[in-house]
């Protein structure tokens, strides 16, 4: 999946995370994180963001994440939403079962 344009997903409400995805002209994944729990869970949040993008086949992107205590499932959901919006793709595989 190619990140073609900037896209946002999520909110600044408690329990949520706001993900901004942009094309990365220099290649690779760059993740900038601002979190209320960065010292406790910063590495974990970055790992979930990175793994979700790799699952989607996103190799090159700049990610800005503003976390308000989101759970792993909320992080994955917001990253996927932002990625689809940024790629312009409409159809998701839903667990890989759908072609």
């Amino acid at each position: 999946m190619e990140i073609k344009k900037m896209a946002l997903a999520g909110t600044m409400e408690s329990g949520d995370i706001m993900i901004t995805l942009e094309p990365n002209d220099f290649g690779g994944l760059e993740i900038e994180l601002n979190s209320t729990v960065e010292k406790q869970f910063g590495c974990e949040i970055r790992r979930v963001v990175g793994e979700t993008l790799l699952e989607l086949g996103v190799a090159d992107a700049r990610v800005t994440a503003v976390d308000k205590g989101a759970s792993d499932c909320a992080i994955r959901a917001r990253v996927k939403t932002a990625a689809y919006r940024a790629s312009g793709k409409k159809v998701h595989g839903w667990g890989g079962a759908r072609q």
């Binding site: 329990g15 949520d16 989101a70 998701h92 667990g95 759908r98």
Partner: protein, 298 residues
Amino acid sequence: MKQLRRTMLYVPGNNPGMINDAGIYSADCIMFDLEDSVSIAEKDSARFLVYEALKTLDLSGKEYLVRINDLESGLGIEDLEAIVRIQKAVIRLPKTESAQDILNCEREIARIEGEAGIELGSTRMMAAVESALGVLNAQEIAGASKRLIGIAIGAEDYVTDLKTSRSPGGVELMFGRSMILLAARAAGIDAIDTVYSDVNNDEGFRDEVSLIKQLGFDGKSIINPRQINIAHQIFTPGIKEIENALAVIEAIKEANSKGSGVISLNGKMIDKPVVLRAQRIIDLAVASGILQKEANYA
């Protein structure tokens, strides 16, 4: 044991904080909403969020539902694609107006089950009726599919369609509620009442729950966790009711053992409908955790 549906808590599908907290409340059923509580611009976001939540959250001990978008909107099919594959939630179809609406949704569910290698027929459905036409067709809707576990009335759209508004006594809903209830009973599925929107009016809520329980409904849709305990208090049988039901069952057991068909208890005749009502109270008490042992004498 029968699935309790005394309370069905609406949770907006695009709010991760509320989705995370939903399981801690004691509602019998949790309904994640992808329809009216989600703006058109966030439909994709909510779908991903509910999908991820259902996939990963510990959902034990409750029944989960997802209210999908109308199939004709184009959004509902994608909702089904996501939710059916997880196999953890009942599909609630909004604004149902005919048996054909149920059959159309069922056809898509069956297709997805086939594509995903899921047992055909394992995904259950619930229909929400929210218009005059839907109420008039309630019987054919409730009987349209073996997947249906219940039928609900959605009052806000329904009263708008009737060209009226909701009143404290709910007189405008009497016909609609009765139709939904009769359709549910004829089809052997549950009947769930509409939401009570004034969350600060506990007394009004209590009156409405008492009314719909008396009508025969199995439960109520709720929009705030503070409404859960009030509804459960009203729907859960009281000690006297349970004692009386147990006495009825005991009396009929004794009569059966003596080969007698009709008996009386405290001067009142005990026949089959009385026994069935007593058994229902006992089943509800067991499902509510008040009685320890499940029994079936009816």
